[in-house]
């Protein structure tokens, strides 16, 4: 049995951090640390001496980690974002899933792969959840705008809800636009005129 890997996860959001840590611990007997706050990030990581650092690709504090790629002393272990040789495909998959990994030079691919597979799957899942959440929010916003537009039409034309919606839909079709766009235009116009 080989030594457990030391992994640092950089993540501010507590729930997301826990989800990643749990997944990594399930995947193997790893030593996982979470760093939440960006202050002194590179120093904190260096103090942990990890084999692997995982960070969300959309995290703006990522550039602070680039300092790790410059070994500043003879005792420092150089760190690379793994792209070479066998790990090249893994790196591409990681970037697509939204995770960037910094790995100590010389870490064997067979030790790296299971960890990265787990991390990639987890980040992909979180990314999907985020985009679904954003989609739900957007749908909700659109509903609100359409409801307001319907209300405006019902009031000024003294017609029912179904009829008002049919009018909106026809206007949208005639203009080749989305219903929500027509509704938004109506709401904006009424705000200007009232």
């Amino acid at each position: 049995m080989s030594e457990p890997l030391s992994i640092v996860v950089v993540e501010e959001d507590r729930d997301r951090a826990i989800a990643i840590v749990d997944a990594l611990r399930d995947a193997g007997d790893h030593d996982v640390h979470v760093i939440g706050h960006a202050t002194g990030l590179a120093r904190k990581i260096a103090a942990c001496q990890p084999d692997i650092v995982l960070i969300d690709i959309d995290n703006p504090t990522r550039d602070m980690l680039e300092e790790l790629t410059l070994a500043s002393g003879p005792l420092d272990r150089p760190v690379a974002m793994f792209v070479s040789g066998a790990a090249g495909g893994l790196a591409r998959a990681a970037v697509e899933a939204g995770v960037s990994a910094y790995v100590v030079d010389g870490l064997l691919p067979e030790r790296l792969t299971p960890v990265m597979d787990t991390a990639i799957a987890r980040f992909q899942m979180m990314r999907q959840m985020r985009s679904e959440l954003a989609e739900t929010r957007r749908a909700l916003e659109e509903r609100k705008v359409i409801d307001r537009a319907k209300g405006l039409i019902m009031k000024s034309r003294r017609i029912g809800e179904d009829e008002a919606y049919a009018l909106l839909r026809r206007a949208a079709m005639d203009q080749g636009r989305k219903i929500v766009e027509v509704a938004q235009a109506l709401v904006t116009a009424s705000e200007l005129l009232s």
Binding site: A38, I57, D58, T61, M81, F82, V95
Partner: protein, 390 residues
């Protein structure tokens, strides 16, 4: 004409203007291109998106592709800098605490004299300084090192720490850093937030510093030469438009939109006009050519510029300087620039390299096309870099 959608990564900065203007003012559309400009959260993200094929071109810090060619920074995909997008445009700023100390020391915040500013700063901070810069491989870091070497700052302990530009003002307020070197609008943002004062424009240290480049994957440049040519012509025409003083107000308005920089146009105009508010007292300072997109062969990627960067990186990290310069020189591509921009009015000098730092006055030089008048490119201390005799 059917538009071809081309994904390009950029960082939301004033000097992303040539790409944004190319899209917004129709220069890209004239070439049949619809630029899908993707704002990146970090420079490492810009680099990775380009290296791993998520985008086909990028607005990139000029030292990044050079560092990659030297095997630094973990990602080693071969990139080519096909044109320089902007010259200068950085500012050096200090915390309010240092501002007070400097004023007590009699510093006028003239935003002009790098020697006096360096000497004053070394006097008021004898115990040392921590300075924030956006990325380990950046013109910001190179300018800071040149400034240290030429002034009494060489005599105090100075640490450069990477801080993403949007977090710079906060890091200054928290005392994480004492000073910074950053691209606009982030220096002005720090001043507006009341956290700092601007000490020097980047160009006071090197008056013709290639700041950002248009970078592509070298293999993509070889397989898609026609597409690359269309992109380069669109960007070159956008930079020519930006150089027209009458376009400045419109440019500030465009960049200020929520889709791009999402800041008041007045904040962006400071950099474009070279009129910077340097302190919370509202002192305004004027800098000629604060940031430049066009003219004086600005877009021409001189191999000597890349060699200078390569030499500096190798000297600091202990690499083989001769080899580093040779490799760096291959990253900037005057050959592609000449081939793609011939016949449209771009300045095409006769040479691919020049002595960096020798010009104190504008100087006409032999050219293949255009009347090429090189702009002053002097360093603060008269340093000369001869690519053939470094």
């Amino acid at each position: 004409m059917k538009m071809l959608r081309l994904p390009i990564a950029y960082m939301p900065l004033v000097d992303a203007a040539p790409l944004i203007v190319a899209q917004e003012m129709g220069f890209a559309a004239n070439e049949g291109l619809d630029l899908d400009l993707i704002a990146a959260p970090s420079w490492s993200s810009v680099r990775d998106m380009l290296a791993f094929g998520r985008v086909d071109a990028a607005h990139l810090l000029s030292p990044v592709p050079v560092a990659m060619a030297l095997g630094m920074g973990g990602v080693s995909t071969a990139l080519s800098a096909v044109m320089v997008l902007s010259m200068n445009g950085d500012v050096i700023g200090v915390s309010r605490r240092l501002e007070d100390l400097l004023r007590a020391d009699g510093h006028p915040f003239d935003f002009r004299d790098p020697m006096a500013a360096g000497a004053a700063l070394a006097r008021v901070a004898p115990d040392g300084l921590t300075i924030g810069a956006p990325f380990p491989f950046s013109m910001h870091v190179e300018l800071l090192h040149r400034w240290f070497e030429a002034t009494p700052l060489a005599g105090i302990p100075v640490t450069i720490r990477t801080v993403p530009p949007p977090l710079m003002a906060e890091a200054l307020a928290d005392g994480e850093i004492d000073a910074f070197c950053v691209g606009e609008p982030w220096g002005s943002v720090s001043v507006e937030a009341g956290y700092g004062a601007l000490l020097l424009p980047g160009r006071a240290i090197w008056s013709f510093a290639p700041e950002k480049v248009l970078a592509v994957r070298t293999d993509w440049a070889e397989t898609e030469p026609h597409l690359l040519g269309r992109l380069m012509r669109a960007v070159w025409r956008a930079s020519r438009w930006l150089a027209n003083p009458d376009a400045r107000t419109a440019a500030s308005e465009i960049l200020s939109r929520p889709a791009w920089l999402d800041l008041p146009p007045e904040m962006i105009d400071r950099a474009l006009a070279g009129r910077l508010v340097v302190s919370s007292r509202g002192e305004e300072r004027h800098v000629d050519r604060f940031v430049e997109f066009h003219g004086g062969a600005t877009g021409f990627p001189w191999r000597s510029q890349a060699k200078w960067i390569g030499q500096r990186l190798a000297q600091r990290t202990g690499g083989d300087v001769t080899q580093a310069m040779a490799r760096a020189g291959q990253v900037f591509r005057p050959d592609i620039y000449r081939k793609q921009l011939v016949g449209i009015g771009a300045d095409l000098p006769g040479a691919n390299e020049k002595v960096e730092g020798a010009l104190h006055q504008p100087m006409p030089v032999p050219s293949v096309e255009g009347d090429v008048i090189l702009q002053p490119d002097a360093f603060l201390d008269g340093h000369i870099f001869d690519p053939y005799d470094p």
